[in-house]
Symmetry: C2
Subunit: 148 residues, 2 copies
DNA sequence: GTAAACCCTATTGACGCGGTAGGGTTAGTG
DNA sequence: CACTAACCCTACCGCGTCAATAGGGTTTAC
């Protein structure tokens, strides 16, 4: 299950991807993407520590992507915020943790199925970059303000 | 995220798939699969209400699959217990729920990506049947008792 | 009729998630 | 150099969900 936090992180990053060269403030991003500003602050901090974002301090400060938007995938962000793409932790490739209740990790049938599921999902999410997402969003005329 | 409950449900169902014609008791299944019996009771009840299992009441009672093991997929069971395969509810095809915080459901970029992820994962899990899982488990000599 | 099995509702404890509070630190601007 | 707008960081809290348990009620083989 994708957490709300990861969803916010994706929205914020897509927002930044659509504004190359700028370093918008937390308050701006929060207002545009409808994210509680203090919560967003914590999220952006995590993204910076994870190497996805860079920050500029002091007056006129703000955030920007640390890499080109085409080099950051949705999978990267979800892994950073939620810890893993896999539906179960013992089926994670980058954040593996053995589960307590099955004795033979490698023989476990459920893990085998979840690994296949994880790989299928990861293929999709690691190929989907922020650049693509930003382009697709602007094409649909900023969905966040579309209805209301 | 796959819940512990869904994991137990899968284990119990694979257990039953490996014993066609039998109707083992809750206590037996629980002991063999290391599932707390009262918790298992609630799970099997849900599976029965969901049409996956049948029960026999009274002395000599127990549970069996309501359909052939080849006709029940892991996806069926996960959907029944956890409600949805999708990483986010607005990207579920069988248990769709709109999310509060994005205005245009169809234009949402995140939902678009999650739908693709869901479809990839569902393809895997809906093709993986209990029959296949049971066969694979017995081939690896019952993983639950393999190490310890 | 009795015991073994499923059926069902209610409850509980722990924990993670979503969000907030309130300072500390940095650096442009006058 | 003072001011202040911005990020930085730690701590905290309410709530819901998950995992599990308790304790009866009902059915049926024997």
């Amino acid at each position: 299950m994708l957490t709300q936090k990861a969803k916010y992180a994706l929205r914020a990053c897509i927002h930044l991807a659509a504004r190359p060269g700028e370093t918008p403030r937390i308050a701006e991003i929060g207002a545009a993407e409808r994210i509680p500003p203090k919560f967003l602050e914590a999220i952006l901090l995590d993204l910076r520590k994870g190497g996805v974002l860079e920050s500029v301090r002091g007056r006129k400060g703000g955030y920007r992507l640390a890499r080109p938007a085409a080099m950051v995938s949705m999978g990267d962000i979800i892994r950073l915020i939620d810890g893993s793409l896999a539906p179960i932790r013992c089926a994670s490739r980058q954040n593996f943790e053995p589960c307590q209740d099955c004795a033979d990790v490698n023989g476990c049938v459920i893990r085998w199925a979840m690994l296949k599921a994880r790989d299928a999902m990861a293929t999709v999410l690691d190929r989907c970059t922020l650049a693509e997402a930003a382009a697709r969003r602007s094409a649909s005329d900023d969905p966040l303000d579309f209805v209301i």
